[in-house]
């Protein structure tokens, strides 16, 4: 199947969301295809995180969010949690909890309110720890992990939810370029193996262009462009919406690369 033929997994129709009288995002419509990676990009405060929260049902919203054709507004919380895995930009990491304790919490959507984890829940967790190379760290407390290790633990916690859709808000926050690449490669591998639909916000446009199949550019709470990375990332558009002096170059492989520039003569 090519990108254009993949079925729609997630679609937002005219979604407005946010707290208070003034919604942070307004009239957003977008689609994510099954098994693909969609990156939401845009300047600070554009409403990227709010779009993810709206999909996850974590902020008041209007409009329709369809997941495999089902209106998520009608789904009970627990059903929603079996279909959508969500990790915020700065997840709470209770520092004295062990990695395994933490990852096991991700099985909550599959447990009755007062139930305990069964053997199958435990094997799902062990599988996730293995896939994310966390076995060595299984007994470590969260407070002792490095940034990259912590992000992997968060990914494992979301992974054990076994959801067809992952919403990850800036999964590389605080990581250097090498650790960010390692994490995104792992995420991409998981996506391909499980045919998971991945929606991330990413602030680094070059990185976003390399990993995402499609980009949605958001500014001031609305969608201003959507399409493949090379369609969305144009010099004019970025200058307009980021108020930035940038140049969009293209690599030999055809990937757009966003380079900041300074006006000639300032240095």
């Amino acid at each position: 199947m090519t990108a254009t033929q993949a079925a729609t997994a997630l679609s937002l129709h005219d979604v407005s969301a946010g707290y208070g009288a003034e919604p942070v995002v307004t009239h957003v419509s977008l689609e994510a295809r099954r098994g693909r990676w969609l990156a939401i990009v845009g300047p600070n405060g554009a409403g990227k995180s709010t779009v993810l929260k709206a999909v996850a049902g974590l902020v008041p919203r209007r409009g329709t969010v369809l997941l495999d054709g089902t209106d998520t507004g009608r789904l009970p919380r627990k059903d929603l949690a079996r279909r959508i895995g969500y990790a915020p930009q700065n997840p709470a990491l209770p520092e004295r909890l062990t990695v395994t304790d933490y990852v096991l919490l991700g099985r909550a959507p599959h447990l009755g309110t007062l139930a305990r984890e069964s053997a199958s829940d435990v094997s799902v967790v062990e599988d996730a720890l293995t896939r994310l190379d966390l076995h060595e760290l299984a007994g470590r407390r969260l407070g002792t992990l490095s940034g990259g290790e912590a992000q992997r633990a968060v990914l494992a916690r979301v992974l054990v939810q076994r959801t067809p859709l992952l919403l990850l808000d800036e999964p590389t926050t605080g990581l250097d370029i090498g650790h960010a690449q390692t994490l995104l490669e792992r995420l991409d591998q998981l996506r391909r193996e499980d045919e998971t639909t991945v929606v991330t916000t990413l602030h680094d446009l070059t990185i976003a262009a390399q990993y995402a199949d499609e980009l949605v550019l958001i500014d001031r709470g609305g969608v201003v462009a959507a399409g493949t990375p090379s369609q969305v990332l144009t010099t004019e558009r970025l200058r307009e919406h980021y108020a930035a002096d940038v140049e969009v170059l293209t690599t030999a492989g055809g990937n757009p690369v966003v380079v900041p520039v300074r006006p000639a003569g300032t240095r």
């Binding site: 974590l58 959508i84 969500y86 915020p88 004295r96 304790d101 919490l105 991700g106 094997s123 062990e126």
Partner: protein, 361 residues
């Protein structure tokens, strides 16, 4: 043979994952052993002439159906004075330590204690008002239950109820509004208590003694009074332990995992407040138990509420039994129990904090 064994080992490791913080039989056994030893000392030790070995013989006689070695008066000391007091200490300790653990979980704040939402201030106000305005009533006998415990119980629930309503209207479903409401309600009710107290300084002693806490009881009435609340709260809190762990992730993440943080908070805080009110009604205000015991458990046994809640219930019981032994034997008359829990608990806590420094960081 070898193959069978290795297969069994494999099956075992998939059932109980390594590196999870769970209640181990060993931890429970240790906690129960400490509790039993504390209770035994509680029965053996006390003011008066009764020798410990004779009490021991009496306990053995009761357990085996043998002949009691004690006189009727001595048996009454053991079974009508010491035994109910030990049991009440256990209930109060379990209630305060369990409630403290629950409050710390719900508010994600290590300094939260059972009195945070105004249970203590409400009870104090109600008791003071009764003593000052209706001293005659305090002598009434309302069936088996005295008026002071009833007033304290009602006052504690009033304090928590006010905090809950104020917190809901001010801060919505989050914890910050509730926390601030608790602070405001506590300050307000304490101000009322102080004002009422100033109207009649003659009763200062009576109110002051109540405030410092104590288990000076005769007979079993107070035990039966507190037992159902503490048992109910204990069951609810142990059953909610996994949900408390989920709350430590914050509301957004807990919600995304399919649970409703607001409902968990309501259930857990209701149960914990009921237990606190029951404890306050039979023992006054006993500080520090709700903070020191859950933290000791956290340091020694792990950070999951599946461990913290049950071990706090057991550890709180043992701690208050031991503190009460000190309270009734260290000097003629009695030392207020709240003084002992703080006096003994604080240095011990500091010591454990020191020895676990690297685990904290």
């Amino acid at each position: 043979m070898l193959r069978t064994r290795s297969r069994r080992t494999a099956a075992h490791t998939t059932r109980v994952p390594a590196h999870t913080t769970r209640l181990t039989p060993l931890a429970v056994a240790v906690a129960v052993a400490v509790l039993v030893v504390a209770a035994l000392f509680g029965l053996l030790i006390g003011p008066g002439e009764l020798a410990g070995n004779r009490v021991l013989a009496e306990i053995l006689a009761q357990l085996t159906g043998g002949l009691s070695p004690l006189s009727e008066a001595e048996a009454a000391v053991v079974w009508q004075l010491r035994a109910p007091r030990v049991l009440l200490a256990a209930l109060v300790g379990a209630a305060l330590a369990g409630a403290g653990a629950a409050f710390q979980g719900v508010f994600r704040n290590p300094l939260a204690d059972p009195y945070l939402l105004g249970a203590g201030a409400g009870a104090g106000m109600a008791v003071t008002a009764l003593v000052v305005f209706a001293p005659a009533v305090t002598a009434w006998s309302l069936g088996p239950v005295g008026p002071l415990p009833l007033a304290a119980f009602a006052g504690a629930l009033l304090g928590v109820g006010l905090s809950w309503m104020l917190g809901r209207s001010a801060g919505g479903a989050g914890t910050a509004g509730l926390l601030l409401a608790g602070v405001a309600v506590t300050a307000f009710l304490t101000a009322i208590q102080t004002f009422v107290q100033q109207l009649d300084t003659d009763t200062l002693q009576q109110v002051y003694t109540w405030t410092l806490g104590g288990l000076n009881i005769t007979g079993w009435t107070d035990v039966w009074l507190a037992l159902p609340y503490v048992a109910f709260a204990g069951i609810v809190l142990v059953a909610s332990a996994r949900l408390l762990d989920l709350l430590t992730l914050g509301d957004a993440e807990a919600t995304s995992l399919g649970v409703r943080p607001g409902r968990i908070r309501l259930a857990v805080l209701s149960a914990a407040s009921l237990a606190t009110a029951a404890a306050v009604s039979v023992s006054g205000l006993i500080g520090f138990v709700g903070i020191v015991v859950p933290h000791l458990v956290r340091l020694l046994a792990g950070a999951s509420y599946r461990v913290i809640v049950p071990l706090s219930l057991l550890g709180g019981s043992a701690f208050v039994i031991m503190a009460d032994i000190v309270a009734r034997t260290i000097m003629p008359g009695e030392l207020p129990l709240g003084v002992v829990t703080a006096f003994a608990g604080a240095p011990f806590f500091a010591l454990v904090l020191r020895t676990n420094r690297e685990r904290l960081s």
